[in-house]
């Protein structure tokens, strides 16, 4: 079969084209555009072909995600949400649930994943949303905040307390008791459809609970987030590529003191730093994706590392790119202005810088050889 990556990349390029700036300013992407990307399989490209997906491996999906990230971090955020929803269904759903939900996620329906609550951000153990079994049904009750893409979503994959542990439940946004309220003006990824979600006595068939059993909340959330972290990491590679390209273009053409500003050493230093940032993030993402594709257990920590490095590099480099473009980059909605705002959020979402560092520290602490303790 032909490599599906070039076609998926072309669909993204054609649908986004030069529209990212206006989507950023209006805070909305036309939902028809997102459905077209979804139907092309581009929003959750690792879903196997038997469920209508493109069956990309992590490395190829990473390149696709970077392509989206270089053009529009709002579209890339929608991709992250859709991909994480699909991954959660793949990992925790029964074969029947996979066969039922995955073709919908590659068929044009849009999905979002809800973890955070007002009092449960990094500390998800404080999660208060409940999924309660009542005969053949479950009843979902709770509040989720900052659910990326929920404004566009047909389906929500929500985490809540279930039996003696926790579970993920698939909640169609159209059922009684679900209310989705868009957050109109987020700092970054402004058109990603962030929303708060209220669930008041939402009754669903028990078959909507993925896997049907209570699992430990940390394992459940860590597993779902692993995909999201890879997606954010690669999205940051895209941000870095866009910033590097914009800074280089401007440095070649803008002249001050009688020569292109790229020939002034302090500006040239920024360009070198941008290249270092882009290459560092790319290499660490490639390593993590190769670990996924090889089925190596190293993928777990490599994913956290990739997310942390890429987000930090993107935030710093976007700031440098704004500095290089100066007034030419300061108009809201422009590529480096968006990158500056979008990259900052990447240091917060899917495990903040601080949480990533704690995980990395735990990892090394648990592995110091006994004799050297």
């Amino acid at each position: 079969m032909a490599d599906p990556l070039p076609a998926a990349t072309a669909v993204l390029a054609a649908r986004i084209a030069d529209r990212a700036d206006s989507w950023d300013r209006s805070g909305l992407i036309p939902v028809g555009t997102l459905r077209e990307l979804g139907s092309a399989g581009a929003l959750c490209a690792e879903v196997p072909t038997r469920y209508g997906g493109l069956g990309l491996d992590s490395l190829a999906n990473g390149e696709l995600t970077a392509e989206a990230g270089s053009r529009c971090s709002s579209v890339r955020s929608v991709m992250t949400s859709q991909g994480m929803a699909a991954w959660t269904v793949q990992r925790f759903g029964t074969p029947e649930q996979q066969a039922s939900w995955l073709p919908r996620l590659t068929g044009g329906e849009l999905a979002a994943v809800g973890f955070s609550e007002a009092d449960a951000g990094s500390d998800l153990s404080a999660m208060a949303t409940t999924i309660e079994r009542q005969g053949e049904d479950v009843v979902v009750e709770g509040r989720k905040v900052w659910v990326t893409s929920a404004h566009y979503a047909d389906l929500l994959v929500l985490f809540g307390r279930y039996q003696d542990g926790a579970a993920a439940v698939v909640v169609p946004t159209g059922v009684p008791g679900v209310r989705v309220r868009r957050i109109a003006d987020p700092l970054g990824c402004r058109a990603a459809g962030h929303a708060d979600v209220r669930l008041d006595q939402v009754r669903l068939p028990a078959g909507h609970v993925l896997g049907g059993a209570g699992l430990p909340l940390p394992l459940l959330v860590t597993t779902a987030l692993a995909y999201g972290r890879m997606s954010v990491a690669w999205g940051c590679v895209g941000i870095l590529r866009a910033c590097l390209a914009a800074a280089v273009r401007h440095s070649r053409t803008r002249e001050q003191f009688g020569k292109p500003i790229g020939e002034h050493q302090l500006v040239a230093g920024h360009l070198a730093d941008l290249l270092v940032a882009e290459q560092t993030a790319t290499r660490v993402c490639e390593h993590a994706s190769r670990c996924w594709d090889a089925g190596s257990p190293d993928q777990v920590i490599a994913t956290v590392l990739a997310k942390h490095i890429s987000a930090g590099q993107a935030a710093k480099a976007a700031s440098a790119a704004v500095q290089v473009l100066a007034s030419a980059g300061a108009a809201d909605g422009g590529v480096v202005a968006r990158a500056y705002r979008d990259a900052k959020l990447m240091e917060i979402i899917e495990g903040s810088n601080e949480m990533c560092r704690l995980m990395l520290a735990d990892h090394v602490l648990a592995r110091v050889p006994e004799e050297s303790r």
Binding site: G295, P297, V300, I301
Partner: protein, 92 residues
Amino acid sequence: MSTAVTDLETVQKELLRFLESRTRRAWGPDLDLFAEGGQSSLFAMELVVHLEKSFGISVRGADLRLDNFRTVTGMTALVGRLQRQAIGAQDG
């Protein structure tokens, strides 16, 4: 993918070797990795990935409960059960 049943003693030995190489300390088959061993949910994920890759199984849904990964003995039993199920599914 064809799955063969690995004998349980081999599974146990391989898991102890894996744990020792990962954590750089000695393990017993019934030591609780999470309660006594101080390991995290990230480490549980590493174990899931390792079991899937090494023994040709797929750990999904309700089998992802932590009790299945708490001890080497528990993981050995899980591998045995999932390998037999996979063979049963192929024969059936």
